[in-house]
């Protein structure tokens, strides 16, 4: 039986339905850092906001415009960063996002925008730690 693969994985559907972390950055101590990438032609605009304290990302939120895969990948990344020590935060690349969330290859261009926003955030975090 040749069954067509579902367009969205269960993880993507769940993250899209909840959009965890799509909120304003809560008030708190520590430095506020931002990473943003805008590629309207690619169909994605991603912004991470994080609070860095004691060399650790104590909170991370996001805002994004894009397809369900983009929103889910951004939400997943923001969740992954929380409470991580900044030196331990290796950049999450598009290929890993695709693997983790079972995102089709044609969405790789949009995942690169998530990757770029994350790289900008981590650069800012390293600068203030």
């Amino acid at each position: 039986v040749n069954r067509e693969k579902p367009r969205y994985s269960p993880q993507v559907r769940d993250l899209f339905a909840r959009l965890p972390g799509a909120d304003p950055l809560p008030a708190g101590s520590g430095a506020w850092v931002t990473g943003e990438a805008i590629e309207l032609d690619r169909g994605a605009w991603v912004r991470f906001d994080a609070r860095v304290e004691g060399g650790r990302i104590v909170d991370c939120v996001f805002h994004a415009w894009g397809c369900p895969h983009t929103l889910a990948a951004t939400a997943w990344t923001a969740l992954e960063l929380r409470m991580r020590a900044v030196p331990d935060c290796a950049p999450v690349d598009a290929a890993r996002l695709a693997r983790e969330l079972d995102i089709p290859t044609e969405k790789m261009g949009r995942l690169l925008v998530v990757e770029d926003a994350l790289a900008a955030l981590l650069a800012g975090a390293r600068a203030v730690q």
Partner: protein
């Protein structure tokens, strides 16, 4: 707990089969005396042919044509191909120019592209910002070597109507064959081919409550446009479309035309009113805009853009609750932004933010209220996740 079925607002893609049509088709399929080849001379064959003749009359009446002018096909795509390729290829040797527009359905675009590959020159008219092709622009593009003008009556994405009476007059004056793709307008608004003098008109059953797999090409009687067939083998349909006629499909097509024709004015008014109610009910989701308005349009299509919204996300947000098409729906195989909206000058982001909501016979006022609530709530949720400034830039 049984979930409600999704609200169907995709009547421009296809319409639900009218139960009365389904009953006629079932009756036709289950009647052994109608299973013979309608081209056969024996009694059962003549019985099938009689039902087809009756259907041909019903189909013809819908557009004020004579039954002899109706050629049955497999659908509007085949009708458009027969009209465009058939008329151009049958034109006099010196006529190698065709006029069409950039906002045609893919059936028309691809047929004209094929003509280019065969050495024809094609003028691709650009619509104005509202999606309208002005008859004056058509007149200006006609040359002594023009063989054919092919323009859709109602655009399948915006619903914008071409003034086919005016274009037909221009073509008659220029001695040019005029074909119109009326897949979105036949059975939804009145069409009078006799009064307009149009040479060729394509339409199909499944856009007006009939079955998929049945279509028609109207071919004017006098003067009769020259047409080269695409399919050979039996000279059915006056030599223009060979192949055994599918009696049950055609009988269903005829029934659907009869039903649509009887309720045409009332349904058009009802659906137009519902469409405007939907537009008003969506206002809490402002900023938003209409693609293709203002101007004459078919009653059922509302193409609306929501600032800051990505169409695929909105479709998933509506998944299981609302059946609609996004700005990329008509080229969904490639997920490319709609070429129709692009031709109207919309940015890719604005196209991605657009949905086509199309209403039809089964649409109720309750559907409209519920659909609007779902859309407004969905748009608000997705906007709550937008980065600062995105709402202004993505429009």
């Amino acid at each position: 707990v049984t979930a409600s079925p999704p609200i169907y607002l995709d009547h421009a893609a296809t319409t639900p089969l009218d139960p009365r049509v389904a009953a006629v088709i079932c009756e036709c399929l289950s009647d052994a005396s109608l299973q013979a080849n309608p081209a056969s001379a024996h009694g059962p064959g003549r019985a099938a042919a009689a039902r087809i003749a009756e259907a041909r009359l019903q189909v013809a009446r819908l557009i004020h044509a004579t039954p002899e002018s109706i050629v049955f096909t497999s659908g509007a795509t085949e009708s458009v191909n027969l009209a465009v390729l058939g008329a151009a290829r049958a034109a006099a040797p010196g006529r190698r120019h065709v006029v069409t527009s950039r906002v045609e359905h893919r059936a028309g675009l691809d047929a004209c592209s094929q003509l280019e590959r065969e050495g024809f020159e094609v003028t691709w008219l650009k619509p104005d910002a509202g999606g309208l092709i002005e008859p004056g622009a058509v007149a200006a593009s006609i040359r002594p070597d023009t063989a054919l003008v092919s323009l859709m009556h109602a655009n399948n994405e915006t619903g914008v109507l071409t003034d086919i009476e005016a274009v037909s007059a221009v073509c008659v004056e220029g001695g040019v064959v005029f074909h119109s793709d009326a897949a979105q307008s036949a059975g939804r608004i009145p069409i009078d081919v006799a009064a307009s003098g149009i040479a060729l008109l394509s339409f199909c059953a499944h856009k007006l409550g009939g079955p998929k797999g049945a279509g028609a090409l109207y071919v004017r009687g006098r003067p009769r446009p020259a047409l080269q067939p695409l399919v050979f083998g039996g000279a059915h349909e006056r030599g223009l479309r060979s192949g055994t006629l599918a009696c049950h499909q055609i009988v269903g097509f005829g029934a659907a035309c009869g039903i649509a024709g009887a309720a045409l004015d009332d349904e058009a008014a009802r659906i137009r009113e519902l469409r405007e109610r939907l537009w008003q009910a969506l206002q809490p989701a402002a900023p938003l805009w209409r693609n293709g308005a203002p101007g004459p349009s078919v009653p059922g299509i509302l193409n609306v853009g929501f600032a800051g919204i990505e169409g695929e996300s909105l479709l998933l947000e509506m998944d299981g609750r609302l059946a609609v098409s996004s700005g990329s729906a008509c080229s969904s195989a490639t997920a490319e932004p709609s070429y129709v909206l692009r031709a109207l000058g919309r940015s890719d982001a604005a196209i991605q933010a657009s949905l086509r909501l199309s209403l039809g016979r089964t649409t109720t006022g309750a559907d409209i209220e519920r659909a609007a609530r779902l859309l407004v709530d969905g748009v608000r949720r997705l906007r709550s996740a937008l980065p600062d400034g995105a709402l202004e830039r993505i429009a």
